[in-house]
Assembly symmetry: C2
Homo-oligomer: 342 residues x 2
């Protein structure tokens, strides 16, 4: 912990009595075979003894890399993202990379400007949580040859590696849970289909409803304007005004479910007494709501880790295939669902 002025490669070279270039090759596992085993040992010992740590600026300058990757997300304050950031950092720090976070607040102008800043900062790669189904910004980045990985959402234009939760499976778990409890009239409070998750969850709901033999009634489906509480509340109000009967609702995410909660208390509807609600994401504090929210847990930390790994791969060999990794979610049953009373 004492002040040590930086040890350079020259220092360890001198200590090992070799030329700096030899020391460099000895330390780099790629080039290590080029140098005699004895010398390698000497260099390694010297480096260890002196506590040598390569200067990543010099390294980056030479290799034309910044060892920084950008993470572009709507808003770090959304509880979905901190665990993802932890996953990213845990993976990337090990590889000596650094994560720089940028928030777009769902604003197109701001998104453009943060992407621009990232480019000028010369990040080595980008993790994007802001993809729309057709996204010119992403096309631009790809053309510019920037290594990319999408998380959470994907684009339909293909060719971009991504790591997401398996929305089809997840919605299936939610729906089957309700069906098993005995619900037959199940509503869906969705989200904009302009982003992949909104579309996928909608489609999954329809498809699972069919395969479970549940009636798919357009009157039972509404869409919130965004994945947030107020839009969710508005959508649920709209649903109630239609005056159709239902005993349960699947929400496109937890915040929308929260909006449904609000309207339910507002209108004196008991949850889960009169209507069961299941959310999506299992955000922190979902267990602290009243009633505790039954929801589908998506492995967010893991998504971060895998995205990091994928990005590193892409940086190292830009030719690599565009994997689309889907991680399996898990149903978390809490207090917001129960058999229908009817």
């Amino acid at each position: 912990m004492v002040t040590q002025q930086p040890i350079t490669l020259r220092d360890v070279a001198r200590a090992a009595e070799v030329h700096p270039s030899t020391a460099s090759r000895a330390l780099n596992v790629e080039t290590r075979p080029l140098v005699n085993d004895g010398t390698v040992a000497r260099v390694l010992a010297a480096a260890e003894a002196l506590g040598y740590e390569p200067n990543s600026l010099a390294r980056g300058l030479k290799l034309n890399r910044t060892f920084q990757v950008g993470f572009v997300l709507p808003d770090l304050t959304n509880p979905l993202f901190p665990p993802m950031v932890r996953g990213l950092e845990d993976s990337l720090n090990g590889a000596k990379y650094t994560v720089v976070i940028a928030n777009t607040d769902n604003d197109a102008d701001k998104e453009r400007s943060v992407l621009d800043a990232m480019l000028r900062r010369r990040v080595d790669g980008l993790v994007l949580a802001t993809a729309r189904r057709h996204d010119p910004a992403i096309d631009g980045l790809r053309e510019a040859g920037m290594p990319l990985v999408l998380v959470n959402r994907t684009t339909e234009d293909g060719g971009v590696p991504s790591v997401t939760g398996d929305d089809h499976a997840g919605i299936g778990m939610a729906l089957r849970h309700l069906v098993e409890l005995g619900h037959r009239r199940i509503a869906y409070v969705g989200a904009p289909t302009s982003v992949s998750t909104g579309l996928a969850r909608y489609q999954a709901f329809v498809s699972w409803a069919r395969s479970e033999g549940i009636e798919v009634d357009a009157d039972l489906m509404v869409s919130a304007d965004w994945f947030q509480e107020d839009p969710g509340a508005n959508a649920f109000r709209e649903l109630l005004e239609r005056d159709v009967s239902f005993t349960a609702v699947v929400a496109a995410n937890d915040l929308i479910a929260l909006g449904c909660y609000d309207v339910a208390t507002e209108q004196g509807i008991s949850v889960p007494g009169e209507v069961s609600i299941v959310g999506y994401n299992d955000m922190p504090f979902a267990d602290k709501l009243s009633p505790p929210l039954t929801t589908v847990h998506v492995p967010v930390y893991e998504i971060g880790r895998r995205a990091a790994d994928l990005l590193l791969e892409t940086i190292d060999q830009p030719t690599s295939m565009a994997d689309a990794i889907r991680l399996r979610p898990e149903l978390i049953v809490r207090g917001s669902t129960q058999p229908p009373v009817s």
Copy 2:
């Protein structure tokens, strides 16, 4: 958005028909007076036209700076921190700095290792949210000459700049609120006094109780083992077992208050019917609990911003005074407090 291979200083020098060194001086506002006004104009124009962005690696290598600052915190997943991170980034990115986040999970070994990693990474400064009242790690960093700013918590060994909420004022707001509602028997569910916030809030409670003419009864004071839900629940249970009467409790933070909630429902005690509870921090979703939590809002984003500014100052002139900035909190009255029934 098109692929542009990097423009270097040589390029703009060539375009402006000057030597790179002259271009460098012209672009740097510090050294600009050294060069003829006309040439400055020519260089600036060329740089603008070519879209020149200095390579920060080369710059950092020369200046012996990484333009990275570390943010060491217990856990990004704690909802207190994301807004703070946003504040930090908003301030630092403007100054071309990058924030690298490290979590300690409240583990001493891990803290040591992340600090070590930060040092080896040669960050230009550190923001610490993990200070204990006497903290050898911090002493070590100071001796090593690392620019530091503490947030949230402070150390008592002095001399380190810090940005915190004003806990004395905040606890005062909480207590006065309860007194104004008519409460006289008010309990305090505290937190470890080994960290500054724990101590300050405890002392503030005692001091405000006195000045408000409230009896300070040791039987009404317990301490949770940590700022978390389960420890809060245990502490509250202990308080109840003492079988002393009280009508309200001040909790040292929101999570501890949450623990009190849990025990209350568990033992059939109605909040706020039988006992009012006020928390501290105003964490996200505090308004979503049932009942919505009355709490003291601390300006976390602002803390981040100010910490960043302070750190930049400290980096630029290490002689600068060790300011201790205290930001004023605000009472947020929600549903967990009401006049005592008695």
